[in-house]
């Protein structure tokens, strides 16, 4: 194991504790403070199964450049108490340079953390907090950890002020932050004499203007609204509920509506109905909900009704691991409908991209009159990051509609592009009946071979011929070996590629954003000069690898690096895999 557990340009902090200790809140404020100090960061949460009072940890990584994933380990683990914190040992990896801070009054630090060789520094947090009546212990923890990480006291206190809801306790808590900062100085002195100082935030001079703090789920919701969605049907499910809860008040503000449905069968059919009525519509769910929606998604394919379904992927199969991330719905999203049913599948590659990718999905769905599935995941959805304001899209959302009294109007006319004008209810002279039954160009149910072939071709052709532009995938670098991945795996993959480059090993990175339909021409262009391909993903069945092999030609059979959740892929882990792969060539 490397001595320095994390990349030198960032600092990683874990705050842990159980019920009432407030570590999630502290982590959020820490992130906000970093933003004030001009830095970037990401915060991931983890907790036990209890609804309240369970063990919890806020995992934060800060740096001068935009951060898209957690590092291999943590520079600091500060535990307010040790209750069941050992459960997080796999997620909170420590090394010999790491710092372990705990309250001696809360007992011994768990063996699993001590065994890493991390430097243990006891601090009587509870006693310190008691000395400032009315303060929360998590604010003390914030002061200590933020200062050790290199954040100025001003930024920490400003962040607390902005987040504080009860004015009469604010002063005590600002004091607690200051007290923590003071204690951190003592800790730093100890560290200097025992292994050296803790990693600190270097640089960071970005201004607040044009930067946001946002979660992946919120970004997806906003992307939907930017894309023009004005009707949402909602059924709550972990980890997608926040998309819907963010949309509920936001949609109202822009003149849209959110309806809570009785189940996913209802929510998917509701949005199809609303979209048939001319309003861009969307819902959000997770694996089990998507599974319930499949029949109706097929209806949207056959009747050519645009809809968007955001799938915030979690551990599967079945009820699986609801609060953890995995990329195991890919196979299902690209092929999980009965019949020959082409559909769009778009995968955001970061918290920030949740906005752009969802917006794009809405645009594509509307333009192509087809369902689009957005493959987000829990890691992006429920994590919060400081990002640069996502650029406005130049693409416009536009549905091809039929004008009133269009002569000889046929809803499912066999056009060259495959997209036929859609009559919106209320338009004179172009009424039709949308149908899941196979139909003629006029929309009359038909079991005739020529109609079936024509419509199947039409529905496939409209997706295949569309010009998706460069946004279909991000290709970075130029080497004869390429790493292909998608979604949240792209963060650690990109870091691994950067570290490899620093070691003199040159790799290209391809992050797929459009997963379906397949893009053979564009893939061939992107693979110019490539001899070696490896596919990286977070699932047990190597789903992307198999999908790519089914649909694309490669200069030689690709390699695969894959493993399932609940633990996220790490840059260091991927670096090792990539170096080994290159060596074997």
């Amino acid at each position: 194991m490397q001595e320095q557990i994390s990349a030198p340009t960032s600092v990683s902090i874990a705050l842990a504790g159980s019920g009432g200790s407030g570590v999630m809140t502290a982590g959020t404020v820490l992130l906000a403070a970093a933003a004030k100090a001009g830095a970037y960061g990401v915060m991931v949460r983890t907790s036990g199964p209890q609804i309240r009072g369970g063990e919890a940890a806020a995992l934060v990584r800060l740096g001068p450049q935009p951060i898209s994933s957690l590092d291999d380990g943590f520079d600091l683990l500060l535990a307010i108490d040790w209750q069941n914190v050992n459960r997080f040992a796999d997620e909170i990896v420590l090394g010999a340079r790491s710092v372990l801070i705990g309250d001696p009054d809360e007992g011994e630090a768990p063996e699993v953390f001590k065994a890493t060789g991390a430097r243990y520094i006891p601090l009587s947090l509870k006693k310190m907090a008691k000395e400032i009546p009315g303060c929360w212990i998590n604010m003390l923890a914030l002061g200590i950890s933020g200062t050790l990480a290199g954040l100025p006291l001003q930024a920490l206190q400003d962040a607390v002020r902005e987040s504080w809801k009860k004015p009469d306790t604010l002063e005590a808590n600002l004091q607690a932050v200051a007290r923590g900062a003071q204690a951190a100085v003592g800790v730093a002195e100890q560290l200097a004499q025992d292994g050296g100082p803790m990693a600190q935030l270097q640089g960071g001079a970005a201004s607040d203007a044009r930067r946001w703090m946002i979660s992946g789920n919120e970004a997806a919701g906003f992307g939907a609204i930017r894309g023009g969605v004005r009707f949402v049907a909602a059924y709550p499910i972990t980890p997608a509920t926040e998309v819907l809860e963010w949309l509920a008040p936001s949609l109202i503000k822009v003149g849209g509506t959110l309806l809570q449905a009785e189940d996913e069968l209802a929510s998917i059919n509701m949005i199809i109905g609303a979209s048939y009525g001319g309003v861009p519509s969307l819902t959000a769910t997770a694996g089990p909900g998507l599974a319930l929606m499949t029949e109706a998604i097929g209806l949207a394919v056959a009747a050519e009704v645009p809809i968007v379904v955001v799938d915030v992927m979690r551990g599967g199969p079945s009820t699986g691991i609801p609060a953890k991330s995995e990329q195991s719905d890919l196979s299902f999203a690209v092929s999980g409908l009965h019949g020959d049913a082409p559909r769009l599948v778009v995968a955001p590659s970061s918290i920030s991209d949740c906005l752009g990718a969802t917006q794009w999905a809405v645009q594509l769905a509307e333009a192509l009159q087809a369902p689009a599935i957005v493959l987000s995941d829990q890691y992006m959805g429920q994590s919060r990051a400081i990002i640069d304001r996502p650029a406005d899209s130049e693409r416009v959302t536009q549905r091809l509609t039929a004008p009133a009294n269009a002569p000889d109007y046929k809803r499912y006319r066999n056009t060259e592009s495959g997209v036929s004008p859609m009559a919106i209810p209320g338009t004179e002279g172009v009424s039709y009946t949308a149908d899941g039954l196979e139909h003629s160009e006029a929309g009359i149910p038909s079991s005739q071979s020529k109609d079936h072939v024509l419509q199947l071709n039409k529905r496939e052709r409209k997706l295949a011929l569309h010009d998706y532009g460069p946004y279909w995938a991000d290709v970075e670098g130029d080497a004869d070996a390429v790493v292909i991945t998608f979604g949240s795996s792209s963060g650690p993959a990109r870091e691994a590629v950067e570290r490899a480059r620093a070691m003199g090993v040159n790799l290209r990175l391809m992050v797929l954003r459009l997963l379906a339909p397949a893009r053979p021409e564009q893939m061939a262009a992107a693979l110019q000069g490539v001899k070696h391909v490896i596919v990286v993903e977070q699932n047990h069945g190597a789903q992307l690898y198999r999908y790519l092999r089914a649909w694309y030609d490669f200069p030689q059979p690709p390699a695969s690096y894959h493993r399932p959740g609940p633990l996220p892929l790490r840059p260091g882990e991927l670096l090792n895999a990539l170096l080994e792969w290159r060596k074997a060539q």
């Binding site: 059924y235 499910i237 509920t241 509920a248 008040p249 809570q260």
Partner: protein
């Protein structure tokens, strides 16, 4: 099956206590959750029934309440959201010898499970359905359920859903349930008694149990002051029960209806015909 045991001690088939039905898994429900008492009531009721754990099955869906099977020593089935009644129906029809208990919350049972609820009542298969109603979706952190008041503010439905509450006892009665009762988790013995009677009653028995959610509906701590023993006694007259339930305010505790429908009978199997004999149909 076993004799009905009410107040007078009867001679049980097996001497079972509530402890025989409680597993060693500690529930993770929030302290103060009504479901703890429901669990105790269920184990007490099962002890009264005297059917050994191995012959009992507890079927559930998804939600806080649906975690209950693993906390008993019975055979448990923790299925998918809203489909517990369907799974339980399959189980009971295939295995009529088993005592089948179905459990879940108001979200699981009345929202996504609503359709299955109607048909389970119609079908009247002999089983008992317990809904731990806390007027909220607890597991997904506080969205309105079909029994939530229309003006209850939440993130998903700001200002309230504006939609009238679902009336489970009326719907159950109208759809054909043979036994309809309401219990309150705060009354352990009373609830155990109602559950036992529900299990003893043939056909589909439905018990709506008001079970407070201390985390998302802390005001439900007041339920103990508001609930009352139903003044009108139980009836077997569906019309009378319907009139009464349509004006029920949701706080009357007790057996509200105990009907006389014959429980579901799977089609009678004709006297055996061997597999070989079936060939005759095809033989030339």
């Amino acid at each position: 099956m076993n004799e009905i045991v009410n107040d007078a001690p009867a001679v049980p088939v097996q001497v079972l206590t509530a402890a025989n039905f409680k597993s060693s898994y500690k529930p993770i429900w929030c302290p103060g959750c009504g479901d703890y008492t429901v669990l105790s009531s269920v184990t007490k009721a099962l002890a009264i029934m005297g059917v050994p754990p191995k012959d009992c099955a507890v079927v559930s869906g998804i939600g806080c309440s649906s975690r209950i099977p693993a906390y008993t020593t019975c055979y448990g089935f923790h299925g998918v959201h809203g489909r517990s009644l369907a799974a339980a129906t399959g189980l009971k029809v295939a295995r009529p010898d088993l005592q089948v208990l179905v459990a879940g919350g108001d979200g699981d049972g009345y929202s996504i499970g609503g359709n299955h609820f109607l048909h389970a009542c119609r079908r009247n298969v002999d089983m008992t359905y317990l809904v731990m109603d806390n007027h909220v979706y607890g597991m997904t952190k506080g969205q309105p359920s079909p029994t939530t008041e229309p003006d209850w503010d939440s993130k998903l439905s700001p200002g309230g859903t504006g939609v009238r509450v679902f009336n489970p006892p009326v719907v159950a009665l109208a759809s054909g349930a043979n036994f309809v009762a309401r219990a309150f988790a705060g009354d352990l013995h009373g609830t155990a008694d109602i559950i036992a009677k529900a299990m003893q009653h043939p056909g589909f028995s439905f018990v709506e149990i008001l079970s407070p959610c201390v985390t998302f509906r802390p005001e439900q701590r007041d339920w103990r002051k508001l609930v009352r023993a139903a003044v009108v006694p139980s009836t077997d007259d569906a019309g009378r029960a319907a009139r009464r339930l349509m004006t029920d305010d949701g706080l009357n505790i007790g057996i509200l209806y105990a009907g006389n429908r014959a429980p579901y009978q799977a089609s009678v199997r004709a006297a055996g015909c061997s597999v070989a004999e079936l060939e005759a149909e095809f033989a030339l």
